[in-house]
Symmetry: C2
Subunit: 258 residues, 2 copies
């Protein structure tokens, strides 16, 4: 007899969710104390403490002078997940090559659960700022790489992703209309690469080129990003895309025979 008339059996485990919430909050706050966490997520200090003790036991969190922080076990497991990605070594070296040849910031991302995840990243010598970071997630429709990937996913998959995550705006230029997005994707498919003109960050332009697997499936996308004052006309429309396509061609050939 469940006292609170909810559906009797839950399909998720509450205490695990609490732990995950704590981790999320710890990341959001850049570290926190027991009391801060207890207040933030509305559970008792004692409970928070027990969760932290459990997580600390396995190095998922660490305690530096009283404040708890995210531990490097996440990097361990995340690094493992990264290595699982087929051809990641080659991708990393191509990202480097592109950064060297263009001088701009280059990243490679793939799709997981409808979000774009950064798997490799390299800042060129012109060293532009960038919000990207290993493992960082973005909405796919907001960035060049994400759009390049979407353009090569089955339409129903794209629809699923839209349904799940929506089309939130990051700037005034973000595509927020479903039909507009589908038109854009069509366009990208024809052209072979995608543009991002301040759709994720004001003043930031980028070019995205998809990486296709041997079976015609899209594995991810490379993106070269830089400030709009450097990324325009010929260089933006042709030169950099050409470099990118030749680099991606190489890696696609390598992946086929390995």
């Amino acid at each position: 007899m469940p006292p609170h008339g909810s559906t009797s059996t839950a399909t998720r485990i509450k205490s695990v969710e609490t732990s995950l919430t704590i981790i999320e909050e710890l990341k959001r706050q850049n570290g926190a104390t027991v009391t801060e966490l207890a207040a933030a997520i509305d559970v008792s200090k004692g409970t928070v403490h027990k969760h932290l003790t459990t997580l600390r036991e396995h190095d998922y969190v660490v305690n530096n002078d009283g404040t708890y922080q995210i531990g490097l076990t996440f990097l361990d497991i995340g690094g493992y997940a990264l290595c699982q990605f087929d051809g990641i070594k080659q991708v990393e070296s191509k990202v480097r090559e592109l950064a060297d040849r263009t001088g701009e910031t280059v990243q490679f991302s793939t799709e997981q659960h409808g979000r774009s995840v950064v798997l490799a990243r390299e800042a060129g010598h012109k060293g532009v700022f960038s919000r990207a970071r290993l493992g960082k997630r973005f909405h796919m429709h907001q960035i060049s790489g994400g759009k390049a990937i979407l353009a090569h996913l089955p339409k129903e998959r794209v629809q699923e992703i839209i349904d799940r995550h929506g089309l939130p705006a990051a700037t005034d230029a973000t595509i927020t209309s479903e039909t507009e997005l589908f038109e854009e994707l069509e366009c990208i498919r024809d052209r072979g690469y995608s543009f991002n003109k301040g759709e994720s960050t004001d003043g930031l332009h980028a070019i995205g080129v998809p990486l296709m697997g041997p079976e015609g499936d899209v594995l991810g996308a490379f993106a070269v990003a830089g400030p709009s004052h450097r990324m325009h006309s010929e260089r933006f429309k042709d030169e950099i895309p050409d470099v990118m396509r030749s680099v991606v061609n190489e890696i696609e050939l390598n992946l086929t025979y390995s």
Copy 2:
């Protein structure tokens, strides 16, 4: 009244530990099904299923065609933890520089919970194999970087680490005696850098140089590793150490004024 006469109150949360065990097992097995996991960690299928559902909800695991895999959320959080490390950008660029100048594999690692964790890694053009990987953990006494760090930790801290993790052997050359280790550390402190002569992997030699913070605390260590047939005599004993020390000097200066 606890039926099993154990100490009544636990300080850890069992269901969270189960989830963590599942994640660990998932990593160990390179993905697994519900039934496989249930068998491996000895809990019921139903329980495993509920854990996986909870973890999947937050993208900690993903389900590819029936088998569950580690998800990229770990990379997200791990990447965050990595960025928290002070001066990581400079460290990464110096690792690159060292890889370019020596042609060997270079890594930077720090200490957490008595283990050495790889924070940056770069293979030089001579491209030697290496078990290292972003986030990978090693026993500190088995590797050059780890020993370089230990040499600059307070003695009681080193003792703590030994007590917690022991001195397991990886090869015949691994240091397994406490007194021998302390002598070696003394030696490293005098010399300023450390050697690894096949102590972690047969045929692999490496040099470790500590990175010291402004307050005389050790932040981590760089290591240059290569096959023993390339890493010997002058090059091993002087040339590479000199390059490393000059690079580390630079970064130490930069860190002081930033």
